[in-house]
C-alpha cells in the first residue's frame, strides 16, 4: 500500500491565556488603539449580555442565548468583515451584529419576541438569525454563488457551532462551496457543548476543522479566546475568498461560559470545575492584560468604558421597553409581497373586523 494523500491541521494562537505573545504578531496589531477598539466592543458585548439576562430573569424578554465567553470570536469575525460582505448567523453572534450596525434596541426587540428586531436599519443585507442548526450553511453557499456569478469582490461569512458539524446540511454546504470554490468563510465556534452534549460525544474526529479536508477546502483551528488569532484567520480567509481562492473553515476553540440559553440549567450536565477552569481563559481579561502591559489601556479608561457600556445598554433596554407592541396585523404584514385575497378574511378575523 502507498500513501495517496496526507493532511495536517494548523493551530493558530498569538496570545496565550496569560497574555504572553507566543507568535509574531500580525500587522494589524501594530496600532494598539485598534486593538483597544476591539476591546471596547467586547466589553459592550458583555454588558449587553448581562442586561439581556437580567431582562429575561425579570420577564421582560423571552428565552435568551448568551454569548458569554464568545466575545473574542464575535469581535474577530466582525472586525475582519467588510460592510458589503454578508453575515449569516446562528443565535450566539449578537456581538458580530452589533459591530455590523445592528442596534442594541433591535437585539432586545428580537429576544423580546418582536419580528421588527430583524429589520436591521444597519446591515440591510445580512441574514436574520437562523435557529435551525446549519440550515443557513446552504444559504451561505447560495449567497456566495450569487457574488461569484456577478464577479463581486464580496464574501459570505457563515457562523456555526460545534453541534452543526454533525448535520448533513453542514457537509452538503462545505462540499458544494469547495466544488465551486465559492467566496465563503465558515466561522465555526467550538464552545465544547451542544446544549448538554459535550464535544467528545459529538464526533470522534480529532478536530472539527478537519471535516473541511473531506470537502477539499482550506481549514485551520484557532484559539477562539484570542481575538488576534480569530481576526488574523478571518483576514486570511476573507482575502482568499475575495481573490478567488475559495472557501475556508475556521474552527475557533472557546468555551460556553453560560447555560445554553436562559431556559437551560447547565449544572445538570456540566462539572463546575470545568467551567471555573474555562474562566481562566476569559478572552476579555486576556486582551485587557495585553493592552495594559502595552500601555494602551488604564484604569481610568476602563472605568469610563464600563460606565459608557452600562449607559448604552440601559438606554437601549428602555427604548425597547418603550416600544409599543405590534398589532395582530403584523402577523400578516410581509408574509407575501402582496397579501393574497384569501388571507384578507383571516386578517380581518384576527383584527376583530370581520
Amino acid at each position: 500500500m502507498s500513501v495517496v494523500a496526507r493532511f495536517e491541521i494548523r493551530y493558530s494562537q498569538f496570545l496565550d491565556p496569560r497574555s504572553k505573545v507566543v507568535a509574531p504578531l500580525p500587522e494589524f496589531t501594530r496600532k494598539t488603539e485598534d486593538l483597544a477598539k476591539l476591546y471596547r466592543w467586547m466589553v459592550l458585548m458583555r454588558a449587553y449580555d448581562a442586561k439581556a439576562i437580567a431582562l429575561q430573569r425579570t420577564g421582560q424578554i423571552n428565552t435568551f442565548a448568551s454569548l458569554l465567553g464568545h466575545e473574542a470570536i464575535n469581535a474577530g469575525i466582525a472586525s475582519a468583515m467588510a460592510k458589503d460582505d454578508v453575515f449569516l448567523m446562528t443565535y450566539r453572534e449578537n456581538g458580530v451584529q452589533l459591530m455590523r450596525g445592528v442596534t442594541l434596541k433591535e437585539l432586545f426587540l428580537y429576544w423580546g419576541g418582536d419580528e421588527r428586531g430583524s429589520d436591521y436599519a444597519g446591515p440591510r443585507g445580512d441574514f436574520p438569525i437562523c435557529i435551525t442548526i446549519a440550515a443557513h450553511a446552504a444559504h451561505a453557499v447560495g449567497a456566495a454563488y450569487a457574488m461569484k456569478l456577478r464577479r463581486e469582490p464580496r464574501a459570505a461569512v457563515c457562523a456555526l457551532g460545534d453541534g452543526a458539524t454533525s448535520k448533513g446540511d453542514f457537509y452538503e454546504a462545505i462540499n458544494a462551496a469547495g466544488a465551486w470554490k465559492l467566496p465563503v468563510v465558515f466561522a465555526l465556534t467550538n464552545n465544547q457543548w451542544a446544549i448538554s452534549v459535550p464535544r467528545a460525544k459529538q464526533s470522534a474526529a480529532q478536530t472539527l476543522a478537519q471535516k473541511a479536508i473531506a470537502a477539499g477546502i482550506e481549514c485551520l483551528q484557532v484559539d477562539g479566546n484570542d481575538v488576534i488569532a480569530v481576526r488574523h484567520a478571518m483576514d486570511e480567509a476573507l482575502e482568499r475568498a475575495r481573490s478567488g481562492g475559495g472557501p475556508t473553515l475556521i474552527e475557533m476553540l472557546t468555551y460556553r461560559l453560560s447555560d445554553h440559553t436562559t431556559a437551560d440549567d447547565a449544572t445538570r450536565y456540566r462539572n463546575p470545575d470545568e467551567v471555573a477552569e474555562a474562566w481562566k481563559r476569559d478572552p476579555i481579561v486576556r486582551l485587557r492584560t495585553y493592552l495594559l502591559a502595552a500601555g494602551a489601556w488604564n484604569k481610568a479608561a476602563e472605568d469610563a468604558l464600563l460606565k459608557d457600556c452600562n449607559e448604552q445598554v440601559q438606554a437601549a433596554a428602555q427604548a425597547y421597553l418603550d416600544t409599543p407592541p405590534p398589532t395582530a396585523k403584523q402577523m400578516f404584514d410581509h408574509l407575501y409581497a402582496q397579501l393574497p385575497a384569501v388571507l384578507h378574511k383571516q386578517r380581518a378575523a384576527a383584527l376583530g373586523d370581520d
Binding site: 419580528e115 440591510r124 448533513g168 452538503e172 462540499n175
Partner: protein, 326 residues
C-alpha cells in the same frame, strides 16, 4: 405557433425568462450537461453557460437552501428537485426559511425562488417517483403552490412563478410531460397566479382538479356529456393561495361538486376544498361534496399503479352519486 408537450413548454418558459432576465439561474441535479432527467432543461447550458445552468452536487436540501441564499442575494433561482419523492428533505428549508424570510425580516429581505418538482403517478416509475405532495406544501405559510395541467398552462404559469416576488413550489405532472401536445405561443405572457382556471364550462356539476387529474376530469366530462350531463371542470392550478371564490361561484351555478386528486385521501387538498365549500357554500349544494382521491396507502409500484390512480370511471361514478342524491 408550435405544437409542443408539457415538458417542452417548461423548457420554453425557462429559456424565455433566462433570456429576458439575467438574474434567473437554473440549478439542480443533472440539469446542465444532461439537460435534466426529463429533459426539461435541455439546451439551456449551451445557451446560457454553466454559471447560470448549474449542475449541483447530489443534495436536495442544499439545492433548496442554496436557492434561498441566491434569492435573498438578488438572483431569481429556479431549482429542480429531480423527483418530488426526493423533495422531502427540502421541506425543512421550505417551511423554516423560504416561507419565512420576508416576514421574519419584516420585508427587509425576500425569497423569490421557484422549486420545480416533477411528481405524480402514471409513468411506471420506481418507488418514491410517483407521489403527489401538493397538500404538504400547501400547508406551509408564505409560499405558493402551483400545479399546471397542460403545455399552455405550464408555460404561462412557470413564467408567472419565476416573476413572482415570493417562493413558489411548482409541481409538474410527469404523466402529462409527453402525453399530448398543444399549441403554445412563445409570447412571454404569464398566466395569473392565485386563480382557478375554467377548463370546461358546464351547468350540472363542478369537477375540481389539478395536474394530471384535470386531464382525467376532462375525459370524464366528455363521457358525461354523452349521457346528457354537463360538467364544469375547474383547474385549481394555484392550490395555495386558494381561489375559493371561483369554486363557490361554480358550485352556486351547478349545486354539486366532485374534487379529484391523485394524492392519498386523508388531509388531501381535496379535503381543504371540501371544507371551504361546507363553510361558505353549503346553501348552494344540492348533494354532499364527493372526493375522488388516491387511497390512504403507499403509492404502489407500477404493476398496481392503475388501481391506485383516480380515473375517468371513478370520477364519472362520483358525479353520478351527486346527481342521484335526494
Amino acid at each position: 405557433m408550435a405544437q409542443i408537450t408539457l415538458v417542452e413548454a417548461v423548457n420554453l418558459a425557462l429559456k424565455r425568462e433566462m433570456e429576458r432576465d439575467p438574474a434567473v439561474v437554473v440549478l439542480g441535479e443533472d440539469v446542465g450537461v444532461d439537460g435534466g432527467v426529463f429533459r426539461a432543461t435541455l439546451g439551456l447550458i449551451e445557451r446560457f453557460g454553466p454559471e447560470r445552468v448549474i449542475d449541483t452536487p447530489l443534495a436536495e436540501a442544499l439545492i433548496t437552501g442554496m436557492a434561498i441564499g441566491m434569492a435573498v442575494e438578488g438572483l431569481k433561482p429556479v431549482a429542480e428537485i429531480q423527483f418530488s419523492g426526493f423533495g422531502y428533505t427540502t421541506i425543512d428549508q421550505v417551511v423554516n426559511h423560504a416561507g419565512r424570510m420576508r416576514h421574519r425580516t419584516q420585508g427587509r429581505l425576500s425569497c423569490p425562488l421557484v422549486l420545480r418538482m416533477p411528481c405524480g403517478a402514471g409513468i411506471h416509475a420506481p418507488e418514491h417517483h410517483s407521489e403527489s405532495p401538493e397538500a404538504m406544501f400547501a400547508h406551509v405559510p408564505g409560499i405558493r403552490v402551483v400545479y399546471p395541467s397542460s403545455p399552455r398552462r405550464a408555460y404561462g404559469l412557470l413564467l408567472a412563478a419565476i416573476r413572482d416576488p415570493d417562493p413558489v413550489v411548482f409541481l409538474e405532472p410527469t404523466r402529462l410531460y409527453r402525453l399530448f401536445k398543444e399549441e403554445v405561443a412563445d409570447d412571454g405572457e404569464a398566466l395569473p397566479l392565485d386563480a382557478c382556471h375554467t377548463a370546461r364550462e358546464g351547468s350540472d356539476v363542478t369537477v375540481a382538479a389539478w395536474g394530471a387529474m384535470v386531464h382525467e376530469s376532462l375525459a370524464a366530462a366528455d363521457a358525461l356529456a354523452e349521457q346528457g350531463v354537463s360538467a364544469e371542470v375547474l383547474d385549481v392550478e394555484t392550490l395555495k393561495p386558494l381561489d375559493l371564490d371561483t369554486l363557490l361561484a361554480s358550485v352556486a351555478k351547478t349545486g354539486r361538486c366532485v374534487i379529484v386528486t391523485e394524492a392519498a385521501r386523508t388531509c388531501s387538498f381535496a379535503s381543504e376544498i371540501a371544507a371551504g365549500l361546507a363553510e361558505e357554500g353549503l346553501l348552494s349544494l344540492l348533494a354532499p361534496v364527493q372526493r375522488v382521491t388516491g387511497y390512504d396507502v403507499v403509492v404502489p409500484l407500477p404493476r398496481l399503479e392503475r388501481h391506485y390512480m383516480p380515473d375517468k370511471g371513478r370520477i364519472v361514478a362520483a358525479v353520478k352519486k351527486t346527481l342521484a342524491f335526494g
